[in-house]
């Protein structure tokens, strides 16, 4: 997940959904408890009403049959005959667990009746609840004598109310009233459904709002990213647009780094230019004296040796100083357009080779770029075009073709071409193509250094005009 906006949306979504889940859980528990409390009050009232019908005599609970009508009304009002609520009540000895009365047979004393286990499972549910005298409890429970096939059925859960009382010396008893928890569950389900709908709608709205605001929040970062890309592509030299406070330190750091890099490179090149001037000016003076001595018929034979050593020194200085300014590929290098450099060189070289009648054709579009330092591009193509102009007859041509992450640049001429015997030797330092022409060997050796430092390759081939073709493959 590399997009900031995607990160923001996913994190917002997770937080919103987590919050909704926790809030829903708390609300659900709160509403569920409140419902249970309501049931508690209802069942307590029914219990007290019911206890008013009983007579207790010598350990037996009986209801006068004359009260049947009122009892039935009570049962009806309390939902005892309702198939959904399925309410039932019984009186149980809390010590012996013997059921003394049950709402299914309200006028029968059950104490002495023996029910089968099947009867118990089918009809007379009892619950794992035991209230002390004077105590009342409300719980959600499953019957203890439940049919094993129904064990996992959630609907079997009942709301069970128990009220404890005592008849000394006969024992302690509890009145248990149980009803189906279905109504409670359906209420909870409705509430949860509503909550889900409500929260989903809220989440959707919040996410849409987040998406809209993210564009506003992320916009400066996108602009910053665009400027960095332009900086990287060489279209601008520093980050110039105003940005929010959070981005300003990064902007400052990047600009400082770029300026440092540029300044350092300029200082370094200026220092090397000064060094070149300091070293070559005395060499030039010595050369002048040798030339003067050369015209003297009585000159010493050692002059030739001095001249040759001087030339060697000059080659070494030229080569070392020129390769010292080559930018290696670990430095911060942005792609630069090739055509403007070639046009500058063409105009300069046409001046230098003014008396030579030839065409210098640059077949390079203006959007073609190479990932090299601008000075290195100038140095590389300055050397290559100068050689081509020097050795051509009528034509020098520069053409390019893309090659994946590289650009192939051909510098062709219609001159005498490279020697057949191992031309790649010319790319190594100190080997000259033409011993009478100064500097070519150094030039090609420096070109090799520049191309290799940029991560490219250089080849000496034959041009379509059967002259020399120098092919350089440069990163873009």
């Amino acid at each position: 997940m590399n997009s900031l906006r995607a990160r923001q949306l996913v994190s917002s979504f997770a937080i919103i959904m987590g919050s909704i889940f926790i809030l829903g859980l708390i609300l659900s528990m709160f509403i569920s408890n409140r419902e249970l409390e309501n049931e508690h009050t209802k069942l307590k009232d029914i219990g007290f009403d019911l206890l008013g019908y009983f007579s207790f005599e010598k350990g037996n609970f009986t209801i006068d049959t004359e009260l049947e009508e009122q009892l039935n009304k009570l049962f009806t009002d309390a939902g005892f005959s309702d198939s959904v609520e399925n309410t039932a009540a019984y009186i149980q000895d809390t010590n012996t667990k013997i059921i003394h009365w049950h709402s299914l047979d309200p006028f029968v004393n059950l104490k002495n009746i023996s029910y089968t286990k099947k009867d118990m499972e089918r009809t007379l549910y009892t619950y794992p609840i035991s209230a002390e005298p004077g105590e009342d409890i409300i719980k959600r429970l499953k019957p203890v004598n439940l049919d094993p096939d129904l064990e996992n059925d959630r609907n079997i859960q009942h709301i069970v109310y128990s009220y404890g009382f005592q008849h000394s010396p006969y024992g302690r008893y509890q009145l248990v009233i149980a009803k189906s928890a279905n109504t409670l569950f359906s209420g909870e389900r409705d509430m949860v459904t509503h909550l889900i709908l409500l929260f989903s709608a809220s989440a959707l709205l919040v996410l849409l709002a987040q998406l809209a605001t993210s564009y506003w929040v992320i916009a400066p970062i996108k602009d910053f990213e665009e400027e960095i890309k332009r900086l990287e592509s060489g279209d601008q030299e520093s980050i110039v647009n105003p940005y929010p406070d959070e981005l300003n330190p990064i902007k400052g750091t990047i600009n400082a780094l770029v300026q440092y890099e540029v300044g350092q490179k300029r200082r370094y090149r200026d220092a090397l230019d000064d060094l070149a001037h300091s070293l070559k000016t005395p060499l030039s003076a010595i050369q002048g004296y040798i030339d003067q001595e050369g015209n003297n018929p009585d000159r010493s034979p050692s002059i030739e040796g001095v001249s040759s050593q001087l030339e060697r020194m000059n080659d070494i200085i030229s080569y070392q100083l020129r390769r010292a300014v080559v930018t290696n590929h670990h430095a911060m290098i942005t792609p630069h357009p090739l055509r403007p450099v070639l046009i500058r060189l063409r105009d300069s070289l046409l001046k230098v080779y003014h008396t030579k009648n030839f065409t210098l054709d640059i077949k390079v579009e203006s959007d073609v770029k190479v990932r090299m330092d601008n000075d290195d591009i100038l140095e590389l193509f300055g050397n290559l075009l100068n050689n081509a102009c020097r050795f051509c007859e009528k034509l020098v041509e520069v053409n390019v073709q893309p090659d994946g992450n590289f650009l192939i640049v051909n510098i062709d001429d219609d001159g005498m071409g490279f020697p057949d015997n191992n031309p790649s030797k010319l790319l190594k330092r100190g080997i000259r193509a033409d011993s009478q022409t100064e500097g070519q060997g150094i030039g090609l050796a420096v070109c090799t250094e520049i191309v290799e430092a940029a991560g490219g390759t250089i080849e000496l081939l034959v041009s379509p005009q059967v002259g020399a073709r120098v092919r350089v493959r440069l990163p873009v």
Partner: protein, 228 residues
């Protein structure tokens, strides 16, 4: 021909000066950029040789100043900086050619001659106008392929006139091109040289190669044969 050398190294300056003087050029020299700029702007220069690394004012700034004043004489850069950045900057500033240090005197001289020919739009070292042929590298003049023996000053006059064949050259311009700054100048001498040249180049008085334009100067009238 008047050549300006702006070079801070005295050895190189003197060597180049001597070499050019030996060849017959009138040479002015300056050791720093400030003095060099003064000569470059105020003297009738035919070619300037300018070192790029100069004290006071940089060589490139001198070239820019010269071109900004509308002066179009050829400029040759002398540079110890072998990087193309320096050469291209110099050529873009208005220089016409460059020579890298260290250099051989003959190479420098050949470049200067080539630039001079370029100004007069002569492409080769030989200039031919009608039956008169002048070889700048050998400093020899031929009429109908027979060599004419000229003095150094006579050669300077004919070379300048042929270089600018068809154009009017004033007497003062010819004087300045022929003499050093500190030399005695006598404009009547020019008339003597012209008269001698007319006799040597046109003994039968049929060619009339040098025309006198009263109050304006002289013009070499013979048509150019090998113009670039």
């Amino acid at each position: 021909m008047r050549i300006l050398i702006i070079e801070d190294d005295s050895d190189i300056r003197e060597q180049v000066k001597e070499e050019l003087k030996k060849t017959g050029f009138v040479v002015d020299t300056a050791a720093d950029g400030k003095m060099g700029l003064h000569y470059a702007l105020d003297y009738p220069i035919d070619v300037a040789i300018i070192d790029l690394g100069l004290p006071e004012i940089d060589g490139i700034d001198i070239i820019k100043n010269v071109r900004a004043k509308g002066l179009d004489y050829p400029i040759l850069i002398l540079t110890a900086r072998s990087r193309w950045q320096s050469k291209v900057e110099g050529l873009e500033a208005g220089a016409d050619d460059y020579v890298e240090k260290p250099f051989h005197a003959e190479e420098l001289l050949a470049r200067v001659r080539a630039l001079l020919r370029r100004t007069g739009r002569w492409a080769a070292s030989e200039m031919t106008c009608g039956p008169v042929r002048l070889n700048t590298s050998e400093q020899r003049v031929f009429l109908h392929d027979e060599e004419i023996i000229l003095t150094a000053y006579e050669y300077k006059v004919i070379e300048h006139l042929m270089l600018h064949a068809g154009k009017v050259i004033s007497k003062s311009e010819l004087t300045e091109k022929m003499y050093d700054d500190d030399s005695d100048r006598d404009s009547n001498v020019i008339e003597v040289f012209i008269r001698r040249l007319r006799i040597k180049l046109d003994p039968n008085n049929s060619l009339k190669p040098i025309e006198t334009l009263r109050g304006r100067g002289y013009r070499f009238t013979l048509p150019r044969i090998n113009t670039a």
